[in-house]
Symmetry: C2
Subunit: 527 residues, 2 copies
């Protein structure tokens, strides 16, 4: 029997509170102790990755308390409830099934009268068949010419995840002979976004993927109209250039305005939709369905690892609990995501949504206010760029910000240069190794301005190369981490009521139904 | 006589501490009171902008205390000392002269035997003349063909600011007939960054701008070699495709490897260099020197406003002090920068460096530890994208994050579409107005999960359009805000010793001179 309860009602949490500042990283990471930690504090992930937490402020005692918390919170059982189809999204009374888009983790899930795994696979196959026809020149523009560009029109989860995944594999695909079509993305309701993309592409050879689960997302429908105007102005028939990704019940589903429609459903949250057709359509068109399938395989393998009840063999659960320790015991307000990989340039923006939209909440899953802090601020940029930018604060600022590094032994594009005795790739890797140690151990200097206090915790996910499998594993790892943290904080991580009020007020502004300060702001902005 | 002193030694700070939670935004921003605040709490900026702080947690009493603090901290006098050429960067014993790159604010500054204003102007004129020759086809590639692309090679301040400025004006320039050359940027030592840019451009018609003040930045020199290899492999002479932006004393300054060299000096910090030749060369090549000059004019006008000793007429000082109130009295750990303008997509990344690298410090300008928090974490993405992403946490999370909005009445590209009775631009503006009110006032709902507590402070900078002048004003505003905050926190905002340790350790890794944990990490990463 699962008991949903608040973090501060558990015995493990009380024990954990007593372990504040228990590990002094400066000592733990020095000398033999440090070497031993790097070797031992490592968990295998899927896709050839591993999660190394040597430079986190944990030791056997803290880990034992975290294990107690995981058990007391029934994290394994709650995960099983989720993938077996319980109504985990209680606010919206929905199942949470994104893991089913990439594999069958438990029992068959039957909802709306269908086997949901079969439903998702069928949609993937439909998108795959469509992509293959586009690549083969069987689906073309009206002039019978091949499409060369795919443009995703979506916002939030229909944009950030798929965009980050596309950028992550673009150079890999080019290098490995599976780059089929370039992809672009239109998201912002700022008309300059769509205008800029449209100026840059060849619309006559572009296929547009309109993504909106409800079929009513105002930004997305506005940008669709923008694109349709551009197509018409170029003498083209929009219906020959557009496909829809939506739910079966949406107004877009059966419209003749689209060449095809691929379906998702209410059980896939936007920020968890990269492995559904929301990511599947654009990524299959860009790289081919086989590459998308490899990406799904990486995610599915990682999902399986998250089932392990042994905390020390479950990278997502471990990462989640260390994060809870940092947030609720150590009191750190933010986390920086720092991939040492240019291909992951937009991955931090995706994680920012995934994490902050899922767990940036103040009431528990029963609607009761919680008395502890929940999701942190998430931000990040690729290293080494960040080193020459905001790392100053991370090293010497007054607040401690835990760090999530990601690094790969090999680059993607296969080009490199040897300068001063080392390649760029070696320099990249040397920097991330150096940063971990600089943050952990610091360095005293007689000039206090040149002193580094250290004691700044980090973990690193290390892989051989950013392949489709590795990317899938990376994505699923963080989805599962956020899920486990939501369980610990007793939140519903799968709704987003906090975005509603702004929408309601924006409609009132557009209807000129305002007074007071809102009317004044509207006037200032000439609305 | 200027007294440099810690914030917590001032009488005004003690008074301010007593004003914690003094203004209840939910009340202040409601009804007539809210309308009055929006009208009154506004300060003109340069470039047609205004700074509106109606939705900040201030009132006459808090503002009076902030004014006392500004006076007691001698902010106006410290700014004057800076622009008149005192050694404000005490750690590195340097003047701080970026304002001189765009105007003469005070006395002539003579250093290294030259009038520095004249020096910066001469370098700008040299870059302008060079750009004009490139545009006129007087400086061409070896085949006598015009250059069509300019690629900046730099990292940190040599990348983020210029890149953000380029993106901010790209569509405006296209729309206004002054787009001369496309610009691209290579920064990361990850070889995939340079490889990706080089695959995407026509190297035979590309001019590369190598930016390194010292001439020794490892990432930048590595990327230069990468580019030189690519040029040689294409049968081209690198010396005919490269210019340098560096200091006169650097090894790059007099090298025959470059078509030309434009100089900066030690008095321009990297993150403050967008208005020097670091931004000037690439922006003059991309848009023409006249546009760059207009950008400088906007910045110069804004710098003048920052001289005003009347806090309520000095937008940068006011913004700075409200930020100190939020950080040190209210205890907020982060600030989000949210431009409702796609053109400002990388402006938050620039501000992240500017702010966190300047004021992310724990010792004062004399090297003594301070007992109060200093610079916050800065992050952000353009609206409306953020609304569909991390705004959930901003509205309903357990921590309060102050918000900096930016909005413009008109878009840049001149294309728009009318859907459901309003244009995209109107929807964009309606959203930012709505968000300010939703954050400030919140809304009670009988379902606690749909309740918004409100009380989340924001300010907005509003402009007519993002023109070169407006962009210059925006840039200078934040530079001056950060400077004033550094004065209040008694920091040296112009060095960055926190980036050094990582560099030292990375060199040791590359030299295989490691043991303990660092050696283990190096092994894991195959270095």
């Amino acid at each position: 029997m699962i008991a949903w309860k608040n973090l501060d009602t558990t015995a493990a949490y009380a024990k954990l509170q007593a372990l504040k500042d228990h590990v002094k990283l400066q000592d733990a990471m020095s000398g033999e102790s440090g070497a031993k930690r790097v070797k031992e504090y490592s968990v295998p992930m899927a896709g050839g990755l591993s999660y190394n937490y040597a430079a986190k402020q944990v030791d056997a005692e803290v880990l034992a308390a975290l294990k107690d918390l995981a058990d007391e919170m029934q994290l394994t059982e709650k995960y099983a409830a989720l993938y077996n189809g319980e109504v985990i999204n209680t606010g919206e009374k929905r199942l949470v099934l994104h893991q089913l888009t990439r594999g069958q983790l438990g029992e068959n899930v039957i909802a709306d009268g269908v086997n949901k795994r079969e439903f998702y696979v069928a949609q993937q196959e439909k998108a795959a068949a469509f992509a293959k026809k586009v690549h083969a020149g069987e689906i073309t523009n009206a002039a019978g010419e091949k499409f060369t560009t795919v443009v995703q029109i979506g916002i939030g989860g229909s944009d950030l995840g798929p965009r980050a995944m596309y950028l992550a594999l673009e150079n890999w695909a080019k290098q490995n002979g599976c780059f089929k079509m370039q992809a672009r993305f239109i998201s912002n309701v700022d008309p300059d976004d769509a205008a800029s993309v449209l100026k840059d592409i060849d619309v006559a050879h572009s296929l547009f993927v309109l993504v909106s689960k409800s079929g009513t997302t105002l930004e997305t429908l506005t940008n669709e109209s923008f694109v349709k105007d551009a197509l018409k102005n170029a003498g083209l028939n929009p219906a020959k250039h557009m496909v829809a990704v939506t739910s079966e019940t949406s107004p877009l589903a059966k419209s003749s305005d689209y060449l095809a429609a691929f379906f998702m459903d209410d059980y896939i949250g936007g920020r968890y939709s990269s492995t559904s057709c929301v990511g599947g359509a654009v990524l299959s068109l860009a790289f081919g369905p086989d590459i998308f399938a490899r990406f799904l395989d990486g995610a599915a393998e990682e999902d399986k690892l998250a089932k392990n009840p042994d905390l020390l063999k479950n990278p997502a659960m471990l990462d989640a609990l260390i994060g809870v320790y940092e947030r609720n015991v150590q009191g750190y307000p933010a986390t920086a995501v720092l991939p040492y990989s240019q291909a992951l340039s937009r991955f931090p923006a995706h994680l920012q949504q995934l994490d902050m939209e899922s767990n940036g909440k103040s009431v528990n899953r029963f609607g009761e206010p919680v008395d502890y802090v929940t999701g942190p601020v998430i931000f990040g940029e690729p290293g080494t760029n960040g080193q020459h930018s905001f790392y100053q604060l991370l090293h010497q600022g007054t607040d401690i910000v835990p760090l999530q590094f990601v690094g790969f032994r090999k680059n993607q594009a296969g080009m490199d240069v040897n300068i001063q005795g080392s390649t760029s790739q070696q320099k990249l890797c040397a920097n991330v190794a150096a940063q971990i140690m600089a943050f952990a151990c610091g360095k005293q200097d007689e000039n206090p301005n040149k002193s580094f206090a250290g004691g700044r915790p980090s973990s690193i996910i290390i892989g051989d190369q950013l392949t489709p499998e590795a990317l899938g594993a990376l994505l699923a790892h963080f989805e599962n981490k956020v899920m486990f943290q939501g369980f610990v904080w007793n939140l519903n991580s799968f709704d987003q009521e906090g975005v509603q009020l702004g929408k309601v007020l924006a409609k009132r502004v557009l209807a000129h139904d305002t007074d007071g300060a809102l009317k004044e702001y509207s006037d200032l902005l000439d609305i």
